[in-house]
Every structure is written in C-alpha cells, then in structure tokens.
C-alpha cells in the first residue's frame, strides 16, 4: 500500500497542490478525479519523480520514502503514462518502449531478439496495430497514447499510473486497455487512472479520490459516488439537475450556411458531401483517422482538396490559406493542442487574443487595454484556472490549455465554427459549460461542425451526425436515428438500422 499525505506543491505563486492526500492499495483500480487544474497531473508527476513536492509525506507500507528522481520512482515500482506523453518522436516504437530498461547480453550489447519479442507481446496484448519498427512520429495520436501505456506496462510496475491516456483513444482501444488493466489488477498491481470520461470510471474503477483546488475533497469506494456526487465534490457546489435539452435544430431549413460537394482528397477523403445550416450543430463521428481531420482542414483552407466544391453563404468558397477563411468568418479549433492550437511559450493573454489579431492586417493596431479586457473576460467565462494572465500557456494544466484554444476560436464571433475534438481532456463541468456556449451561439445563428471521438458528446449537442468510415460517409443520422448503437455500428462500417441512409 502506498500513501501520500498532505502534499504541498507550488509553482511560483500558483498552488498546484495544497495538502492533497492519496492512497492506493494492491490489486485495486482507483480513479483520480478533479476539474482542470486541480493538481492531478502534478501529484502523478511527483510519484513519477519529475516534480518534487514542497512538503508532505510519502509512505510505502507505512515506511517513509523519498522520491528524488525518475530512477528512484522506478526502483519503488512506479510506472507512469503521462498526459503529455514521454515518447521520443524520432525513435522507433521498440526503442521507445524499452527506453531506460534495456535487455542486454554479454559485453553490454542489446539483446535484440528479447527486446523485439517482449515488445511484440505487449503490442499484441494491447491490440496496438502499428509496426514495432515504425517511428513514433509516424503513428497516429491514439496509437501514441497506447504506446505510452505499453511503455509503462513494460516496466512491470507495482504501481501503474495513467494520466488521461484515454483522452485520445477510441471505443475499441479503450476496451482493450481496460481488459489489460483488469488482468494487471488480478496480478495484484495497483492502478491509478486520471480521466474526465465519467462512464469509464464506473466501468473499471473500484474506488475514487476526488481533488478540488489541490486538496483531497473526497475519497472512498466507487459505490459511494454516483455522478452527481462526483460533480459536487469536484466543484464544491450542488447544481440543480438541469434536464439537458435534447438537441434540436434551430435551423430554418433551405438556409444552408456551408455546402460541400463531392470533396475528394486522396487517399484520406473520397467524395464527401455535406451541409451545415445556419444555427445548426452538425457532428462528424467515426473512428480516428477516417479522414475527419483532413476534411475539416480542407474546409478551413489548410489543405487543398483534389476535387470538389464548397459554397459558403451562397457564394463559392475557394481558399488559398487559412487567413482568408478567418476573414470570411470561419474559425477552427483543434484538439491536438501541442501541435495545432496553443502557442505554449507565449502568454495566456496572447493565446486568447491571437485569433482576434488575425482579423486585422499584419500591421494593424492592437490596443493593449482592450486585449487585457478581452482576455480577462474569456478567462472568467470559460473558468480557465490560471496563475497570472501573463504566465506562459505551457504552465497551464492540459485541460485549461484546451479551454484557451476554444475561447480563442469563439471570441472572434465566427459564422461557422469548425471543431476537431475540442473537449479532449476538458473536465465534465467545463465541458457542459462549453456545450452550453455552443448551443447559445448556434441559437444566435452560428453554424457548428464538430468532429468528436466521444459519442456522448455527439449525441448530446448535435442535431445531425455524419459518420465517416475510410474517407466516406457511411451514415447520416438525424432525429430518432441518433442512437449510440447506430453510431457505433456505422463507425465500423455498418449501415444504420431502419431506413437506408445516404451511403457510398
């Protein structure tokens, strides 16, 4: 049994942890919950030996221990899959998994055969499809997350810590991950999962610890925490159960805002047509890498399609680059924050207002006061947890960085908002808040096109859902056809039940 007592950690003036307690028993799967910025990743990093606590006690079976380095952490049997991943993109999958605990033969030479065998075994066990020799930079984000898990597992840990690894995983990947976790649990491994996907914790977790503002708000077996309890402990206030209004289209019909016809981009997208009406939230579902990202980027002018036409507000849309899209009133937000949405070295303020700056010319005047006010408003509206508005964006927690990107996209008041998995790693409370903002803006006439890996999110706010499979639309679901079952079936290429829908 491992215990942490009254852990304190501050980064400058920001208190990330303020007397947090946490314990894990052998053979249990524990959920670590909390809103964005409540200190979950920080406590995981302390266990991983890459952040040192300012105060507090660590007890291993009742004996005080110190974790001073990543090597210490390993020697106590910890292995961590980090939220922002710890992979080396230029190295192969094998090298990444075996890094730091290589099998060697006489004379210090690597035992290639054993390395390969053990990595093969792991990849098979987790059902990761990529080749062991592929460079990590060339595999998909969800595969990268799985490799990060494989890397932690390969150390045969006593304590396995998973920090939001499921955020970029898809349905079946999550399934195989959970199967492996149950196997490990049976072997007596202690597992700690950090996640914002609430349905997952009820599937696998035995107990939960809930953080609020860097301190432990509640702790106990899972049975004590139904969803509204969890949210209460995360936020500290009881919200009235607001019957989530079934999404309904406020669109007036015929009034198409965006119309895309026969868009083709080899090899990812082949002949996809769709339309978004004014005031409509349209969803795009499907497994990862079925062409959704490319499709969105083509609409935003980031990629040039091979064929196909687009109309926006009745006029043909031909974009040479993204700045033209912004000028016409199209805004794009990506869930891949490290690569596409956050300027991690710039300040929070600059991040929030960069979109607005793009509206003017390169040299147009930007008033400092106006910017500060805008940024302040956004921080309040989206409940972004920050130290100072002039801190760098990289100092924020993962979910809060994501909120930065969303706030920036909506702040410019676009007519069409393109969202690519925008709520990845955003806590449940803020996610509801973001959904509300989307609904409100769409009621005012904004069109939204949302790609999401989260079926619940699609069902929750979209009035129409297209499902992509291998670069084609296999289903267009609206009205009471929008069921989880239909989406999941279409995701693996099957047609929806009932009326045959727009197909190949």
């Amino acid at each position: 049994m491992f215990e942490m007592r009254s852990i304190v950690k501050h980064f400058g003036s920001v208190k990330a942890l303020n007397g947090a307690c946490l314990s894990v028993k052998p053979g249990e799967i524990r959920a670590l919950l909390g809103s964005n910025g409540s200190g979950k990743s920080t406590i995981v990093k302390i266990m991983g030996g890459i952040v040192r606590a300012n105060a507090g006690e660590l007890l291993m079976d009742g004996v005080p221990i110190r974790i001073e380095s990543a090597a210490d952490s390993r020697s106590f049997g910890f292995a961590v899959a980090y939220q922002e991943l710890s992979l080396l993109p230029q190295m192969s999958v094998i090298d990444n998994i075996m890094l730091g605990h290589e099998y060697t033969r006489r004379g210090g030479l690597l035992d290639e055969k054993r390395r390969r065998e053990s990595v093969r075994g792991l990849l098979e066990r987790l059902e990761i499809k990529c080749s062991p020799d592929a460079l990590v930079q060339n595999i998909s984000p969800s595969e990268q997350s799985m490799v990060e898990v494989a890397k932690a597992l390969s150390r045969e840990p006593k304590f396995l810590l998973l920090d939001e690894v499921t955020a970029s995983l898809h349905h079946d990947e999550v399934e195989s991950l959970f199967r492996v976790l149950r196997e490990e649990k049976a072997k007596g491994v202690s597992i700690l999962i950090v996640t914002h996907r609430m349905n997952e914790i009820y599937q696998v977790c035995d107990s939960a610890t809930i953080f609020r503002n860097g301190a432990t708000a509640a702790e106990g077996p899972m049975s004590r925490f139904p969803l509204n309890e969890v949210i209460y402990h995360m936020t500290g206030t009881r919200v009235k159960e607001e019957a989530a209004a079934a999404p309904r289209s406020t669109a007036k019909g015929q009034d198409a805002l965006l119309r895309v016809e026969h868009l083709t981009m080899k090899p990812k997208v082949s002949d996809i047509s769709l339309h978004v009406d004014k005031g409509e939230i349209v969803g795009i579902g499907g497994l990862e890498g079925q062409g959704q990202a490319e499709y969105m980027k083509a609409i935003f002018g980031d990629l040039t399609p091979d064929a196909g036409e687009m109309w926006f507000e009745g006029r043909q849309l031909r974009l040479k680059d993204t700045s033209q899209a912004v000028k016409r009133g199209i805004s794009y937000i990506s869930g891949d924050r490290t690569k596409e949405s956050v300027f991690s070295l710039r300040t929070i303020e600059e991040n929030l207002t960069a979109g607005d700056a793009a509206l003017g010319g390169v040299w147009s005047w930007v008033s400092a006061k106006k910017i500060r006010k805008m940024a302040g408003d956004a921080v309040e509206r989206y409940q972004i947890k920050i130290g100072a508005i002039t801190d760098s964006a990289s100092s924020l927690s993962g979910g809060n960085q994501q909120k930065l990107a969303i706030a920036r996209g909506i702040a410019v008041g676009p007519k069409l908002l393109l969202l690519n998995d925008p709520t990845k790693g955003v806590d449940i409370n803020s996610r509801n808040e973001i959904h509300k903002i989307l609904r409100d803006s769409s009621a005012e006439g904004m069109g939204v096109l949302l790609v999401s890996s989260d079926t619940e999110e699609l069902l929750g706010i979209c009035s129409r859902i297209y499902v992509f499979y291998e670069g084609r639309v296999v289903a267009e679901l609206s009205g009471d056809q929008r069921t989880e079952e239909n989406i999941v079936r279409a995701m693996i290429g099957g047609a929806p039940e009932g009326r045959e829908e727009a197909g190949t």
Partner: protein
C-alpha cells in the same frame, strides 16, 4: 529488395550519401578514374584529412546527444602542441607526451561537459568561450610553430599497407568499429533519447546528465587522437592550425544528415559529411589546376578556390535542408499508405 530500398531511403544518412556519391563521381571524372583511385592519391586524401574526419565524428556524437562544441578544432591543436612540447621541453619519452595530449583534450571536453550539463550554462555560450580559453592555452604552451617528430612516426602514418590500404584508414576503421559496437548498446539508445528530448528521456529513467558527460568524454578522446594524427601528418607543432576546423565540422554534420536539434543521425552521417567537404575542396582545386593547364594564361589564387568550394558547400547545405523536409513528408506519406493498406487487408 523494396524493403531494403525503403530502409535506405529513410536512413538519416541518405541525403549525405547521395551528395557524397555525386561529388565522388565528379572528382573521378575530373581526375580520371586511374589517377583518382591510385593508392597514392587515396592515401594522401585520407591521411591529410583524417583529423577533420575524426573531429567531425566527435562533433556528430555531440550533436546527436543534443549539444554542440565549436572547440573541437582548437582541441586538435591542443593535442598537437602537448604531444610536441612534452618530449621536447621536458625530455620525457614520446608516448608520455602523446598520452598527455589525449588526456588534455579529455580534460577540456570534460570541463566543457560539466559546465553545460551540471551548471546548465547554455551550450553555445560555453563552447564559444572555450574556444578562446583553449586557444590561449595553446599559445602559452607553444608560442610559435616549431618541433619535430621521429621519422618512424610520420613514415608509418603515411605508409600504404599491402599496396592499397592506407595506414591512416586503419585508425578511421577503428573509430568506426567502436561506433558499430556502441550503436548496439543501451548507451546509444539513451544518447538518442537525451538528444531528442531531455525531459522525456529523464522521465523514462535515463540519467541524462551522465549520458551527456560520457559523450563529452568520448568526444575528448577522439579529439585527442585527431590531434595526434595531425602531429604525425605535419611532423611538427602549430598552435593555431586546428582552429579553422571548428565550424567546418558542424557544416559537415548537417550535410551528412545529423539534426541540429539532436536525437537524429548516425556516425556514418558525419563520415559522409566530412568526405563531402574534403572531396569538394579536392575537386575544385583539381579543376582549377586542369583549367590553368588547359587554358594558357589562366591562373587564380587560393582564395578563389576556397570561395568556389565554400559556395558549393553552401548550395549543398541549402539542398540538404530542403530535401530533408521533403523526405520527412514522403516518409510520412509512405507510412500512412502502409497503414491504410494494412487496414484494408484485414477488412
């Protein structure tokens, strides 16, 4: 076969190899195959340029681990002056002097490594100031070019074994063999990881400081040996001869395909890069010789020759940067394609 070709195309040294082969072909054309591949010519090429090749390799190692060191050039001179002066002024046996020469370079590299990895002084800052410190040291030890070495040493260094194998090539082969061994150890993986991303390597349980330190020590040894080769080649000491090499090694590494930001490349990249540099210079000077013989009254100074070869190298650098970018794109596409194909097969 297709796989092999793919492997070759994705190897870090691919562009370096192509560039090298191109310039090699040009050299052969200019000099005629018979003359270019004559034992004497090959021997003189390798022997004359071995110091540069060796320190390019140590620079390559450093760059792969994510640091850079301009002082490799002056370290060659340091080794050179120590190797000459210890026997000459202290009357000690030559081997003592030579050992001290290598030890001197290791000490300089170790110090450099210590201040960059443990004191966290920015790499460019520390190595740049080291250049001046070591330069001063060299002149203190040997104020002006002087000294000599016993004939047996430079004769051996210049000799050709079995009628075709330059002795100097053996030294090069030894260093390459050492790398072949190193590449198959856990240390190499740790080195790439450290160069690729220090924080990620550290959180994977790698003692990144120790890795960097070891790389600096290995580089020091290689620099020392390069200095000894220089001593054997020139058969005398010169406190300033090595300085020009410092920046050239960086250019050579980049030409060979080693990434400036670390974590990518192999020592063959350094080798091809260095050879590219050497053959360019060689080719240009031969070309000008040929021209001055062919066209009566045509003569140019060395400066023009240097200018021409530097221009070629600049062009090659630009080309390398562009092809690397394009290549990464095509690798990605290929990987996507393979991934898609894989999925189709299953369905």
């Amino acid at each position: 076969m297709k796989r092999l070709l793919y492997r070759l195309k994705t190897a870090p040294y691919f562009t370096g190899l192509i560039l090298f082969l191109t310039i090699l072909a040009l050299n052969v054309v200019i000099q005629t195959p018979a003359r270019f591949f004559s034992a004497a010519n090959i021997n003189s090429l390798v022997a004359k340029n071995l110091p540069l090749i060796l320190i390019t390799m140590s620079q390559g190692l450093l760059m792969m681990s994510g640091v850079i060191d301009f002082s490799v050039g002056v370290q060659v001179s340091l080794s050179n002056v120590i190797a000459i002066m210890i026997p000459q002024s202290l009357g000690l046996p030559i081997w003592v002097g030579w050992l001290c020469a290598v030890a001197g370079c290791v000490a300089v590299s170790a110090f450099n490594g210590f201040i960059t990895t443990y004191l966290r002084i920015p790499v460019l800052l520390s190595c740049y100031s080291m250049v001046f410190v070591v330069k001063g040291l060299n002149v203190l030890i040997m104020p002006k070019p002087q000294g000599s070495v016993p004939p047996v040493i430079y004769k051996t260094y210049d000799s050709v074994l079995l009628g075709f194998l330059p002795f100097s090539a053996l030294i090069l082969a030894a260093v390459l063999l050492f790398w072949l061994y190193l590449k198959r150890t856990a240390f190499a993986k740790a080195l790439y990881a450290t160069g690729g991303n220090l924080r990620h390597a550290y959180s994977s349980g790698i003692n990144t400081s120790a890795v960097r330190m070891k790389v600096y020590l290995i580089a020091g040894v290689i620099n020392g040996i390069a200095g000894l080769c220089m001593t054997a080649m020139t058969a005398s000491g010169d406190p300033n001869a090595g300085e020009v090499y410092g920046l050239k090694t960086v250019a050579a590494c980049i030409l060979g395909g080693i990434s400036m930001s670390g974590g990518w490349g192999t020592l063959s990249c350094a080798l091809y890069g260095a050879l590219l540099l050497i053959l360019t210079q060689n080719g240009v000077s031969n070309l000008f010789n040929f021209l001055s013989r062919a066209i009566p009254g045509f003569s140019v100074t060395n400066y023009w020759q240097n200018f021409a070869s530097d221009l070629i190298i600049l062009l090659a650098l630009i080309l390398t940067v562009f092809t690397n970018k394009a290549m990464m794109g095509s690798i990605k596409k290929q990987a996507d394609y393979l991934a898609l194909g894989g999925k189709r097969n299953e369905a």
